[in-house]
Point group: C2
Chain length 339, copies 2
């Protein structure tokens, strides 16, 4: 993560915040990604499953390893592709045997997901450790029973020795430990952008047009939901008034109170299509749709364009990821089941 | 590629070849991966589509980009996964809409494929540039018509500017140019191992057991087909006597003369399952099966184990690959078609 944080530090050295928009943004609840790993750790719960280099490296391997899926063909990275803004770019996730998500749900980005207060569209998961257990097992996703996942990992000596390195020689490799390790890697997937430099005091890091878009973004009320570090990530009422244009696509209705997890807007230019059912492909349309659905207002073409200009400044610097070399399966490794 | 070649160079400095097995191996047609990029280029045809840094970097992006497929979900790396020895680890390749290869053909490794004399199991393709055009278009693989691929690339300004950087500002981005660029990246996927250091004169780089296995490998006649740099890669008669245990799985019969491309044995420990139809999962069984099918001999358990020990020394050092960050699609980009 060093490179990334250095980038922000350099930008902020010597900057003095005189632009009133910075104060306006902070007052609206917007928060920059802090400029050191240490400060990020203060903002997230790192106590139960602390980040270490060995765990992150192992978690990265697991994240990219398709052998965690029943078929041996689908990895976490298949639907949360780190080359593509942390998503798959299709409306509804496609999993085992090319099954579309039965609720027509769109894969949310893994980048900056550490800043979400809840995970999944219905917020049913409190953290990434818990979340990671879901898609591995879900039949229309990776479709792997826990025992299959643990058995495959246990059958590959290099994985066993890397778990020992990460957790000590008496480690018990169970399904939870595997998910925890993946989550440790995911918590490093943080992408600071020019917008953070701006909030941290470097007034020139956003153009005049981007600043104008940010101002509109705040003044139209978008920050009511899209706030905090993630510009999203909390549970909010959605479509209570049934205005969402594509409300009939899929059967998703939010949690038991009709609340829906607000997606982060970081890297939003890279994460089309939008909304829980992935029906909107244009960022401008998404902004205008949200105006109608959530703010009961018509956002003009001109204002929507300006907000989009701002939103594109949220595309962040991705951490450098060396593509892993995974240890080979052995005679004890359960074979892929593609049928 | 630098790191890799340095590894070999260091090993060979000052080594003097006195072990008669080295001469025996060279006499049997086995050849090491040379210790410099320059010498490798002498062995392959680099004239028509010369390797440059800009082309390799762009080719890497295209190789990992699932938007080259109709669905937006399958990249070259899906079936030729660089984390898994350059293969997918399933018997028959699974492509668009989870379609298995209709001939039950197994995905060959992309690593060291530059050293193959022909590409595809039936050798119908003379080089990687030509080969790369196949799976992108094939209906049960990436299922993309040429126009779709070119249109998607053309719709992403960063790709257009990277093509200009690689080929000059007047470049015409057509399907052939895209495939050529992917092939340029693939030609860098070379994996020298301790075996190469041995052939280059460092007698201690293979253990006594591995040397014993190599000697058996030569003396049993395996080098009749598994020779050259790739330990394979040429067209040879296969199963003329119909001995192959799984001959009835799939309808593949080789080229019009019944010739089949001999797979490389480099990284063979990582590329199970084996043979054109991927029916054999054990390397020992594969060795014994080849004894019966190709050499009309029973290879004892003990000898097969020794040969396997040698074969595992062919697992090579993989090039460092930074996972790419791909530019986002635009409103002009043709949407993924998952159905």
């Amino acid at each position: 993560m060093k490179k990334t944080f250095l980038f922000i530090s350099l930008l902020t050295v010597g900057a003095v915040a005189t632009n009133p928009l910075i104060k306006q943004a902070i007052d609206a609840g917007l928060k920059p990604i802090p400029h050191s790993e240490e400060e990020i750790l203060k903002l997230i719960d790192n106590s139960k499953n602390p980040i270490t280099k060995a765990k992150v490296e192992l978690g990265k391997k697991l994240y990219f390893d398709p052998r965690l899926s029943k078929s041996g063909l689908i990895s976490c990275n298949t639907c949360h592709n780190l080359a593509l803004g942390g998503v798959d770019g299709v409306e509804a996730a496609i999993g085992h045997k090319w099954t579309a998500n039965p609720h027509h749900l769109n894969s949310p980005t893994v980048y900056n997901s550490v800043f979400n207060k809840k995970q999944f569209w219905d917020g049913r998961s409190p953290d990434l450790e818990n979340q990671a257990q879901g898609p591995i097992q879900a039949t229309p996703e990776m479709a792997s029973p826990k025992e299959l996942v643990v058995g495959r990992i246990d059958s590959i000596p290099q994985y066993v020795s890397e778990f020992k390195e990460a957790y000590g020689k008496d480690v018990k490799i169970d399904f939870k430990k595997i998910a925890d390790t993946i989550a440790t890697f995911e918590r490093t997937l943080v992408t600071p952008s020019r917008y953070d430099a701006f909030l941290l005091g470097d007034e020139n890091s956003l153009t005049k047009d981007e600043q104008e878009g940010l101002k509109l973004f705040i003044e139209k009320g978008c920050t009511a939901c899209h706030t905090g570090i993630a510009l999203g990530g909390s549970m909010q009422p959605f479509d209570a008034n049934k205005q969402y244009k594509y409300r009939d696509i899929g059967d998703f209705k939010g949690d038991k109170n009709g609340m829906v997890k607000v997606p982060t807007l970081r890297n939003i230019e890279e994460t089309a299509p939008y909304f829980h059912n992935g029906k909107v492909w244009s960022l401008k349309e998404a902004v205008q749709e949200m105006g109608i659905t959530q703010l009961s207002m018509k956002i003009s073409d001109s204002d929507a364009n300006k907000i989009v200009t701002f939103l594109k400044s949220l595309t962040g610097e991705k951490p450098d990821i060396k593509y892993p070399v995974l240890a080979p399966s052995t005679q004890k490794t359960a074979k892929p089941e593609v049928k």
